[in-house]
């Protein structure tokens, strides 16, 4: 006698602890195995691209803060750089260094949240997450010093940064640079050779190299699949060509590799911070002679940076007025989701959850 079975549809989310925001996975299951998966989103759509058309350029910065709210500094920087590229504004050297310091601190903070919540999904419930948040807190303190904010900084401006570093910032940064590698070693001792973690993540949710490129994934997802592609190296912007650092890559494109890439990237970011803190020159932090109400010349341009989650780009079309005619945001979280279906089909629900966690998305950026 054959047993009659049939597949069924299970909605995971939109409000579910493992979906990291309001994201819904419409999963077709046979028993515990995923036969099909459709990502459904839009629950956090605020129309930021449309809102940008009605704001002055300076008024767009608070909106960029609310894209990927785990990494606001990077968003600020990406928008400022795209606008500067279009207008041909030269940023003072000290401001470039400050931006690099902020971007790398932000990368560490974002990766810490990512790694922590990923381990949470794996079942290492809350302990590593709290360790990670402990270190992130120290970064937020540094951001608080320069911008007065802990989440939405609104610090970078077209032509430079909002304010110079306060006197206590660099000593605090140097202390952080000394401490951070020790913390990373601590995570590694706990987790690198943890049997359960390896069994859960090795060989799970494999994204092959060709598919990673073809599906336009970026950042740690792309590098986890063995593609050595990092805009800081491949298309150096700001002052990144002055620093020595490596681009860590994975081999198999599995969940473990994406996790490892993030851990290694934290170490590399600390290296960059160390060099930047030593080299930072004195001088102004804002380009001279910029009007309060900035008008970009008529034209269009695409500028992008390597954000913590991947290539973050802004395509700005200017008609010469005080607001952009069109402002398109190339959000890495959004594009990294393209590959989710291919990565999860054929795996069990529990594996799909950690595969999804290893992509590291932020819904503010996916829905915009």
């Amino acid at each position: 006698m054959t047993l009659h079975t049939e597949s069924f549809i299970l909605n995971i989310g939109p409000s579910h602890p493992s979906t990291h925001g309001v994201f819904r996975m419409k999963a077709t299951l046979e028993g515990e195995v995923l036969m099909d998966l459709e990502p459904v989103f839009g629950y956090l759509h605020r129309g930021i691209e449309k809102l940008c058309e009605e704001r002055t350029y300076i008024g767009i910065f608070p909106l960029t803060d609310r894209l990927d709210y785990i990494a606001s500094m990077s968003n600020n920087m990406a928008f400022a750089m795209s606008a500067e590229k279009l207008a041909g504004i030269k940023v003072p050297e000290r401001a470039e260094y400050i931006r690099v310091i902020m971007a790398e601190l932000q990368r560490i903070a974002s990766h810490l949240v990512s790694v922590g919540s990923f381990l949470n999904d794996c079942g290492a419930f809350m302990t590593p997450f709290l360790y990670c948040l402990r270190e992130r807190e120290k970064i937020l303190d540094l951001f608080d010093m320069v911008s007065g904010q802990r989440l939405t900084y609104n610090y970078v401006r077209i032509g430079g940064v909002n304010a110079d570093l306060p006197d206590e910032f660099l000593p605090a940064l140097n202390f952080f640079i000394e401490q951070m590698p020790l913390y990373v070693d601590e995570y590694d001792r706990l987790l690198k050779e943890n049997e359960i973690l390896l069994a859960r993540t090795k060989g799970v949710g494999i994204l092959p190299r060709e598919m990673a490129i073809n599906a336009s994934t970026a950042g740690p997802v792309l590098r986890g699949s063995g593609v050595k592609w990092d805009l800081r190296k491949n298309d150096p912007y700001s002052v990144y060509d002055r620093f020595e650092f490596n681009v860590p890559t994975g081999e198999n494109g599995d969940t473990y590799d994406r996790y490892r890439v993030r851990i290694e990237e934290i170490r590399e970011s600390v290296k960059i911070l160390k060099q930047a803190a030593a080299q930072i020159p004195a001088g102004p932090v804002m380009a001279p002679g910029l009007p309060r109400l900035i008008r970009l010349p008529i034209g269009e341009g695409y500028g992008s940076i390597e954000g913590p989650k991947g290539e973050l780009g802004f395509y700005i079309v200017s008609d010469g007025s005080i607001a952009p005619y069109r402002c398109r945001i190339r959000a890495p979280s959004f594009l990294n989701l393209t590959a989710l279906r291919e990565m999860t089909i054929g795996w069990k629900i529990a594996d799909a959850i950690i595969t999804f966690g290893s992509i590291d998305i932020c819904m503010g950026e996916v829905d915009r």
Partner: protein, 146 residues
């Protein structure tokens, strides 16, 4: 350094049929007739020496008289980039050819453009609303939508 590829590198390699589809080519941007778009992008991806294997971004812009689609292409293999544009006239029932069969990365982006700008991509396997709910009236990113 990712080199912005001069268009002459591309236009010198084109055959007659594809060449007829090019409206304008200067600096690092090619403007192509919408009918030849898919063919050109396929050519850019598969020609040795060009190897545009990575689709960075698709943007749509509403210029009242026409809609413009902007494709940012990158070659991870050769580390260069290029912009391809196409224009779609009119304001009702606008269609463009989908490039999902060439780049999987176009999937969600084309669905998003369909949602917000009202451009239908022919050949897309799943042209459903992505960001807005089913039954939403209007196309928010168009200039006549308030």
């Amino acid at each position: 350094m990712t080199i912005a590829l001069p268009v002459t590198e591309v236009t010198s390699k084109l055959n007659k049929e594809l060449d007829a589809g090019i409206i304008d080519a200067k600096d690092n941007t090619i403007l192509v007739k919408s009918g030849s778009l898919k063919e050109l992008i396929s050519f850019l991806k598969n020609t040795p020496g060009l190897d545009f294997d990575y689709l960075t971004d698709i943007t749509s812009v509403d210029y009242w008289d026409y809609f413009e689609l902007v494709y940012q292409l990158t070659s991870i293999k050769n580390n260069h980039k290029l912009t391809v544009k196409t224009r779609l006239a009119g304001r009702e029932n606008i269609t463009a050819s989908s490039i999902v069969s060439i780049y999987k990365g176009a999937d969600l982006q084309e669905r998003e453009i369909h949602d917000l700008m009202g451009i239908t991509f022919e050949g897309h396997p799943n042209m459903k609303p992505l960001i807005l709910w089913e039954g939403f009236k209007g196309y928010p990113l168009r200039k006549d939508y308030l």
